[in-house]
Symmetry: C2
Subunit: 426 residues, 2 copies
């Protein structure tokens, strides 16, 4: 009895992920969103610059636009003299050119007169006051140093040039990217649609979260924790409720979810019979849908990876910790793949292990840890809940992986911790 469930051929998580992503095409549904809703979304197409930025030659300092060669040799002892004949107002195009010995007052960001090729900073000049002191009139200015052609000027297209591709399809937009798109005038942006992930829990013991459980019953943790993970990754979660320990009920929900969603996640009930229903339900769609059954990972071994009609189906264990550990390693990359973003390294920190952790060769072991500062060093304290209880996962702020070919880690050894949530240093 036990033998059958132990003997199925197991596969590493990485192999299963590669098989899965290989079998699934990038996602092809796109939508336009307003720029102010685009942060965190994924660009669906390259953006080719249809303009130069800046579109006019700008000063990057406050000062005077000059012909550079008229400043050559200028110093504090021997200044160059200029007649300031015009001012470049902000937001306007300055017209007219500088004559010989003339300069134009410019501000940071203002346009330059045609024949000017450099700007001398106001700090390196002095204004020669006139007795009548009419602020609008021309005045004389002395420059105490030389400037080179192009100095303190941003040329047309120097920030970004027409025809360049500053944004690529598959890029997840950050606040600064929103700024760049604003600069180019994109009031709306074409982004990848959120993949719709159907989620089904199962088990006679599972009840909806707003019901008071009778003895023997527990609330549906997985639908909500997996749903939150899906949304956090950029997908849309659609809950298909809790299937009873009933093969036909599960098949009905699976078919419905498969028809209406882009991928389906089942989380199995914990009884032996129910665990088999996930496999039976998936095989009822197609005998050859299953790519992997059983992963060399703990917790999470009885995972099923399948694809039917181009849509992925993941059969996760019913234990919430196992389901989340596997979902982080299969479902998150799957959603990112569907969005068209590349593989992302998890955020890891180095910490010292607070207690020894045993493991088995040939299996990746994931252990929840609490990371914190102790005497100026980061320590990771393993949390061993009996059967990986739900609140082990709540109390943890990180997870460590003991690799396939290791048989455990010693107390005090350095470990890489994948952070879960933000690390607060008190």
């Amino acid at each position: 009895m036990a033998a059958t469930s132990e003997l199925f051929g197991v596969m590493t998580v990485n192999t299963a992920r590669e098989l899965l992503l290989h079998a699934i095409e990038h996602f092809r549904r796109h939508e336009y969103v307003p720029l102010d809703k685009a942060c965190g979304r994924v660009l669906a197409a390259d953006i080719v610059c249809n303009q130069d930025l800046p579109q006019f030659r700008r000063s990057v300092v406050d000062g005077y636009a000059v012909r550079a060669n008229e400043t050559y040799g200028a110093s504090a002892a021997l200044p160059a003299y200029f007649r300031v004949t015009m001012e470049s107002a902000m937001g306007r195009n300055i017209t007219g050119a500088l004559g010989v010995g003339e300069a134009a007052r410019v501000h940071t960001g203002s346009s330059l007169p045609e024949s000017a090729d450099a700007v001398i900073m106001v700090e390196h000049t002095a204004r020669l006051e006139r007795s009548d002191s009419d602020p609008c009139a021309e005045f004389e200015m002395e420059a105490f140093r030389a400037v080179a052609p192009g100095e303190n000027i941003l040329l047309v297209g120097e920030d970004v040039s027409r025809g360049s591709i500053p944004f690529r399809a598959g890029q997840e937009l950050r606040p600064q990217d929103i700024g760049g798109l604003a600069a180019l005038g994109f009031a709306t942006v074409l982004v990848a649609d959120r993949p719709r992930i159907g989620i089904i829990s199962s088990g006679d013991e599972i009840i909806a979260i707003d019901v008071i459980p009778n003895p023997g019953q527990i609330r549906d943790v997985n639908s909500h924790a997996l749903g939150a993970l899906v949304r956090q990754t950029g997908g849309e979660s659609i809950l298909f409720g809790v299937a009873a320990d009933d093969r036909e009920d599960l098949i009905r929900r699976l078919r419905h979810a498969h028809q209406t969603c882009d991928a389906v996640v089942l989380s199995a009930g914990s009884s032996v019979s129910n665990r088999d229903f996930s496999l039976e339900a998936i095989e009822s769609l197609c005998d050859e849908a299953v790519l992997a059954h059983g992963l060399s990972i703990k917790p999470g071994k009885p995972t099923i990876v399948a694809v039917f009609e181009g849509k992925p189906i993941l059969g996760l264990p019913g234990n919430p910790v196992s389901a989340m550990i596997v979902a982080e390693r299969l479902l998150v990359p799957l959603i990112r793949h569907m969005l068209g973003t590349g593989h992302v390294e998890p955020v890891e920190v180095v910490a010292k292990l607070g207690r020894a952790v045993a493991s088995v060769n040939g299996r990746e072991d994931y252990v929840q840890v609490q990371v914190g500062m102790r005497a100026g060093e980061l320590w990771a304290e393993p949390l061993f809940g009996k059967s990986n209880s739900i609140f082990t996962m709540v109390h943890a702020n990180g997870v460590i992986c003991i690799p396939l070919n290791a048989t455990g880690l010693e107390a005090g050894s350095s470990v890489m911790v994948t952070l879960q949530g933000k690390l607060k240093i008190k």
Copy 2:
């Protein structure tokens, strides 16, 4: 002329941030949201467990519930014999107690009969087949090893116990926390309201993003980049448009934003006159509102930090890169403070510096970098755009800080890079 703008007393960013946060109370507005919208939100109150989890003694394996003392001494050579008289169905409370020499069939997650105190795994037993083989009838089972009291059982309250406080106010909810709240039956959650951050751009040269710029004009980058940063941090952004280089226009918008929002962010125009308007507008509300004017940071020196009637006002430089660098260091902590979450360490990675970077003692210098793998090592390549152009920021995926008391960093030296967005290793 230059002297006045250079001579104001500068303050470190850390001091300015501490002054600011000290002057602002935690935010007191809360709202109830459905559990499935609570991920990423911040809990507004501690959650005290009003129940034990599990609420009944559960088996954590498939097997047989027994009295532990009846297994003592059992081995493969000398098994203990049991009469299996009942089965604990999933989702039901098993009633009745075990008699002497009796066992109950249990599944992972099912409840235990009253007098059972341990579960022996099915792998360590054998069922003795009867010739009539009625599956519902009682049968004999032999156990090949002993179990200790409590073995393979999750006790009432062992996951989380009544009266404990598994979630604290100020905690940002992660997917696994959503799972924990589901287990406790929280269909709605009280979270901190999103702080409303009013954003005002200014400058005669700035136009709305959906307008075609004339020469001399540029589109409003800051409203959209800052707005995205606000939303990413958990705030709500409200745009108050672009003020002209006109003191009264800016004051009118600032008063409006200050009345309707929880904090206001101005980004100055880049002309000299306009830069002074931010200060004048803030001082028009109250002479003593300003806590800091001028920070020892580059870019971002001409920053203003103020508080009026308990609401923060930040006057940021107009240059988008400067505005974003300062906003990351003042606005993000401010929003987190208002949400009631603690200080969070930025995510940093160690990389080797691709080129030397000069700096000035007494100033924190922030340099945009592109981080990537080269020959198995992480390298950070400094991006020096003239006057920190917008697309320097778009091309960067990290930023390094040259500390106050350093005068530069050598090529090849190890630097800590604060990542901006996710790090993709190709």
